[in-house]
């Protein structure tokens, strides 16, 4: 599953996972936009928005930035950034 990046043989195809991630990102963006249009507010909506942002970020970092195949330290740095930022924003919202 994670060999192609190392493979010396040609592998012209974009990983299927990247297309799935793209579809997921579009869907999550649609959800965010929809919540904005309905004017929904409150802690639950905030949790959904930040949760969606977190998942989108993890998907971009893991698949697009290829951190899924990177040394775990780097994976942890970017994932940690996402958790830190969304966590702080949620905390500031609830404060």
């Amino acid at each position: 599953m994670n060999a192609p990046a190392l493979s010396p043989a040609p592998s012209p195809a974009t990983p299927r996972a990247a297309h799935l991630v793209y579809a997921f990102l579009l869907a999550a963006t649609g959800l965010t936009w929809f919540l904005g249009e309905t004017g929904a507010a409150g802690p639950a909506v905030m949790a959904v928005l930040m949760g969606a942002a977190l998942l989108k970020g993890l998907a971009v970092a893991g698949e697009f930035m290829e951190l899924r195949h990177a040394p775990r330290l780097w994976q942890a740095v970017v994932a940690g950034w996402l958790f830190f930022v969304t966590g702080c924003l949620a905390a500031a919202y609830l404060a």
Partner: protein, 200 residues
């Protein structure tokens, strides 16, 4: 999708494939610095918002959410094309790779156009950095991000140019580095859009 192409004679078949960071380590150091700057900016926004909830909620309602959502779509689509560009170069297709970069550049250009219209509408209302704390953050954050989009586009254009002139031994590493930077710009917007445009 399988490991049989790794036709190494001494392979016992049990060694896990080496984990690898795509792109130059130097760009990742820089990406970390940028992420840190944005993190501080975001947290500052959160703190300021907590102190002026009403001002932020009122200001937020005046923003153009459609433009924001459209820009999100443009950025993630651009990222998707960049992923394809990297895959194509790895597959030995520099021409196809360059083509995907052009598509990504077009997405970036679209982002700029949308942003210009959005800013024009706001500036026409006399809104500036000094209007109030919410607009200060709105303009600062989006403008700071916008400049990153611009820088990302300059990087993609340079990469496109080097692909067009024929890839060398370091082209793939450069493309991976540029791609990582471009995705970082995307990553930041993914937080920025719900935070500034939607979350009330």
């Amino acid at each position: 999708m399988s490991t049989e192409s790794l036709a190494l004679p001494a392979t016992t078949g049990t060694a896990p494939p080496e984990r690898r960071l795509a792109g130059d380590l130097a760009i990742w150091v820089f990406i970390c610095a940028e992420l840190l700057a944005f993190a501080v900016f975001f947290v500052a926004y959160g703190v300021a918002r907590a102190r002026h909830v009403d001002m932020f909620n009122t200001g937020q309602l005046t923003l153009d959410r459609n433009a924001g959502a459209l820009n999100t779509v443009l950025l993630i689509t651009g990222s998707w094309f960049v992923v394809q560009a990297v895959a194509r170069l790895r597959g030995g297709d520099p021409g196809g790779s360059a083509g995907r970069l052009l598509l990504a550049l077009a997405c970036g250009g679209g982002f700029l156009v949308v942003k210009v219209f959005e800013y024009k509408a706001k500036f026409a209302l006399g809104i500036s950095l000094s209007t109030d704390t919410f607009y200060m953050f709105y303009i600062s954050l989006t403008f700071f991000h916008l400049m990153h989009v611009l820088l990302g586009m300059v990087i993609l254009a340079l990469l496109w140019n080097s692909l067009r002139r024929g890839p060398g031994p370091t082209t793939l590493s450069s493309l991976e580095s540029g791609a990582a930077y471009w995705h970082m710009v995307d990553l930041v917007w993914i937080i920025l859009f719900p935070l500034v445009y939607v979350m009330r």
